[in-house]
Amino acid sequence: MKKEIAITAFKCKKCGRIHYPYHDRCLGCKHREFDKIKPEGNAKLLTYTVIFNLPWGFDQRFLVIGVAEFENHVKAMGQIKADSVDQLKVGMTVIPSWEPVRVQYGEDVYGLKFEPVE
């Protein structure tokens, strides 16, 4: 079963600026009250890279990672389901999902994954 994307973003009640991750004061107007919002819809790929020198904890050859903006303007980093950057282009649509992104202490750690749309 598809898991819900367990990210909460925060919309400033005063100026409307959207934050992810959380801040105690708005990055725009320093207001302290926010509405919790969930990322909505598909996302647009803003930038990406493929990393070949991985950090401890990743037992694989490479990782494709990018930042994408959801339809309601929440921006977040995630792993991209691609074998090569040749499949990717800034501005393309990606479909988000909530899946294991690494294993720590024998347990799956869940996070954002983006699947490029042809």
């Binding site: 934050h19 992810y20 991750p21 990055l27 803003l46 930038t47 990406y48 890279t49 493929v50 990393i51 070949f52 020198n53 991985l54 950090p55 401890w56 904890g57 990743f58 990782l63 990672i65 990018g66 930042v67 921006k75 977040a76 980093m77 995630g78 792993q79 950057v85 800034v90 992104v101 690494r102 750690v109 996070g111 954002l112």
Partner: protein
């Protein structure tokens, strides 16, 4: 506030130093700086140690106290300063403010890191701990990965090309080959890393679109300076180097929350503060050490500090304007790219390099002719905490 000058500078060769502990390296660099200052058996009032990872990499904490003991600086005040890859710059700032305020007269500032004690896997993870613990780190992002994403944005917006990045890489490796303190004393051959069919093997993609030789090495090393009030420094034999201005600024932790992720606001603000305090402008600078952990950063910083307009830094590098002998020589030491980047040491090493330049002590093939002023930029996180220093030669 009192004017503050560098009166002693020293560093040890960066690289893989299996034979030395972190404390050995900090101690060796400190003694060089103290001897250079002519302190003899005298002590200092305080010591500030810039270091990012002793707790994680060496399982050692409170290293400033250990260093005070090791060097018998007792009972000097001693503090460790941790600010990621800008730890060295922050340590210099703490020393500067302590002397400028009149609280201390003689202060030792040393930065050091021993990163090769662990595997590349572990070192990469250690550096990645400065990324956001929930929004970035779990995905396996690394600092080269951040730089790769930043490079892609910079290429799209400003037309930076691989040729531009290559120009920085070749220049800094060429200068590093002349620097006995450099980690990578090896000039690169353009054909071998770019043009030939073997280039993909010699210079593979590391964090697309960045290749291996766009990245600094993982290094061990330490560097140190001794500072005191300018009035006292003028009585010494070597020309004092005035810390004419410094600035520091922060930016959002994650790149995606910046209005324009290609805008390194903290670099601009820190440098503007440093220039204002020094009453100088970018065109007054004789030589600069910029934080080129990745070739793209030298290009972007050369624009953000005001040497070139936005979008012109890559072309300027390719045209040779930032070479030794060019319009504004950048990273004559070889920079982080070739001298190396023991993270806690870098901010101090940049000041040491500029001090040597402004005292006109370097060999002809690295000494910028009649250098009077220098700029350093120490870049923490991915531009979320940046320090800039403007230094000036003082004639006695």
């Amino acid at each position: 506030m009192r004017d503050v000058a560098v009166i002693g500078a020293g560093m040890i060769p960066f690289g893989r130093r299996d034979e030395d502990t972190l404390m050995d390296m900090l101690s060796f660099a400190s003694l060089k700086a103290m001897d250079d200052a002519g302190l003899g058996d005298k002590s200092v009032d305080a010591v500030y140690v810039g270091n990012m990872g002793a707790g994680m990499l060496q399982r050692q904490s409170a290293i400033a106290s250990s260093l005070a003991d090791r060097l018998n600086l007792l009972p000097a005040a001693a503090d460790t300063v941790e600010n990621g890859p800008a730890s060295g710059g922050s340590a210099v700032k703490n020393g500067l403010l302590a002397v400028a305020s009149g609280y201390y007269d003689y202060v030792l500032v040393v930065g050091g890191e021993k990163m090769r004690e662990v595997t590349g896997w572990r070192a990469t993870d250690f550096v990645a701990t400065m990324t956001h613990p929930q929004a970035e780190y779990p995905y396996g992002i690394t600092l080269p990965g951040m730089a790769g994403m930043f490079t892609r944005l910079y290429m799209e917006k400003y037309g930076v090309t691989r040729e531009h990045l290559l120009a920085v890489s070749l220049k800094n490796q060429e200068m590093g080959a002349l620097n006995p303190f450099a980690h990578v004393e090896m000039a690169l051959d353009r054909d071998g890393i770019f043009d030939s069919p073997h280039a993909i093997v010699n210079n593979p993609v590391s964090a697309d679109p960045l290749h291996l030789y766009d990245l600094c090495p993982v290094s061990d090393g330490a560097a140190a300076i001794v500072i005191c009030p300018l009035d006292m420094a003028k009585k010494l034999s070597k020309p004092p180097v005035l810390i004419a201005g410094f600035g520091q600024a922060t930016d959002t932790h994650t790149l995606q929350e910046r209005d324009d992720p290609t805008d390194l606001k903290a670099v601009t603000l820190a440098t503007q503060q440093a220039f204002e305090r020094a009453k100088l402008k970018p065109s007054d600078i004789s030589v600069a050490e910029l934080h080129d952990a990745f070739t793209i950063l030298e290009i972007a910083e050369s624009e953000h500090v005001g040497f070139f307009k936005k979008g012109e830094g890559g072309k300027a590098a390719a045209a040779g304007k930032t070479r030794f002998g060019g319009q504004i020589p950048i990273n004559v030491s070889g920079g982080l790219k070739a001298r190396g980047h023991p993270v806690g040491a870098t901010g101090v090493a940049q000041i040491v390099d500029i001090t040597f330049q402004l005292r006109h002590e370097l060999p002809k093939n690295r000494q910028v002719k009649n250098a009077q002023t220098g700029l350093t930029v120490n870049f923490g996180g991915f531009g979320n905490n940046v320090l800039a220093f403007v230094l000036k030669r003082v004639e006695q």
